[in-house]
Subunit: 203 residues, 3 copies
Amino acid sequence: MTWEVFNVIGTIAFAISGAIVAMEEEYDILGVYILGIVTAFGGGVVRNLLIGVPVSAIWEQGVLFQLALFVMTAVFLFPNNVLKHWTKWGNFTDAIGLAAFAIQGALYATNMNHPLSAVIVAAVLTGSGGGIIRDVLAGRKPLVLRSEIYAAWAILAGLAIGLGIAKSPIQLYVLFAIIVTFRVLSYTYKWRLPNRTLKARSY
Amino acid sequence: MTWEVFNVIGTIAFAISGAIVAMEEEYDILGVYILGIVTAFGGGVVRNLLIGVPVSAIWEQGVLFQLALFVMTAVFLFPNNVLKHWTKWGNFTDAIGLAAFAIQGALYATNMNHPLSAVIVAAVLTGSGGGIIRDVLAGRKPLVLRSEIYAAWAILAGLAIGLGIAKSPIQLYVLFAIIVTFRVLSYTYKWRLPNRTLKARSY
Amino acid sequence: MTWEVFNVIGTIAFAISGAIVAMEEEYDILGVYILGIVTAFGGGVVRNLLIGVPVSAIWEQGVLFQLALFVMTAVFLFPNNVLKHWTKWGNFTDAIGLAAFAIQGALYATNMNHPLSAVIVAAVLTGSGGGIIRDVLAGRKPLVLRSEIYAAWAILAGLAIGLGIAKSPIQLYVLFAIIVTFRVLSYTYKWRLPNRTLKARSY
């Protein structure tokens, strides 16, 4: 049940984030649907692959497809002057998708009794897959590799679940809210981690 | 049988389209083979993944590999002055690959009794997978996201098969010809769908 | 056993090559880890997919994760003035990953009694998968499609294994050393293959 809730939340959130990126890049209406669908279900395909669920299981989610199409239509028709900060909404829905899929990846790896390091990697790869597909197709640098803190929150999900801190549905929902909140704070206040330059091409 | 015909048509068509894009980007001869092979069999991998066929089944197609290599060699050696409009040929073979794989995706989803919305998404993702891999590797914006109508024809395939309009082999071949024709008309006459701009970066 | 050795070598080598590319692109410390992990395990996912091993088997490699994290930390902390030629080290570790995974792909296809053409394609796709993921995410043109000879050495691995020239562990390690050596010579001396220009956009 909790699993299914995260699946619906993550899929819808990634569909919206893909649709918003497509509108920012001035795609036509079908391009908006395509990038939304590819982000949402491409992210689901990556998650299914990584956690060992048959990829073709995504076709059984007929209601979810219709819901995603409905939500993307709503986004496309939304009046511009009511909602001016599209980029922030794109980042916000991406944060929701990241949190939902990272939790699913970590839960799967924990249930299979994999070691903590594998749980963390599962959280990161599962959570960032949908956004990576979206950004690569739109010709953007993937959010997960940009300078504001992103993957750290998927690692947090992996730690909390792998160490057994978050177990019950309630705890998982709280963890979900925490991850979304920290990710929103990260891009709002441009939190950064230290980096190290090689000045690769100046030799 | 019909299935196998579409598989051969789609694979060969994507191999040629990949080879042409590689020549346009001035890759060396091995780059031409590589991009052709990755487009053709990468598209097949995406299709197999999405329709639940083991991905490793693609290695059993030894004759198809040899056919693809032969056809790409022919394209590489083709005299320039005979065939001037390479870009159009690249788009034409891509249209054939799109139609063949979209029909396979839709047939699979219909046979598994999935709802119409899933059939349509299966047609779009299966049909556009090979071209997306080719364009991402060549550093181009994927055809499916460009402004000339593209995915709409995969949706048409999904509708025709999902609603039971095209069932017999003959009907499927006619559908195939219709999709290729409409896609060719789309890029020849630059048919477009409405779009909506967010002017994302001007806020 | 030999198989496992190549798996460890390939995974670690791709992790380092991803970390180096991330430092060249001035990513923060987490970006370095992410690109390293995605390159190493993404390459493993592609290999598992193509050779029919369940993708979720990668999570069982807890020790390998820890080893990869340790090695990437060492790379990140390495003093700049000791090791000036980062780009060459990135190319060198990529060559090791290419050779290790190409041999695994070819071995798999040979053991399944697939024809020689399939063995060669398996070697190329399996060997180049990790590097392709790394370069696409970093917004670079994939090494496999650049002008210095790259895929030819994976083809060599496919030929040597498909024709039964390299069979015993010793022979496979020698083949591995030969592929790495030739790849290093290729980028050091900028070996090139003939290409053919279409001057696509000048019509």
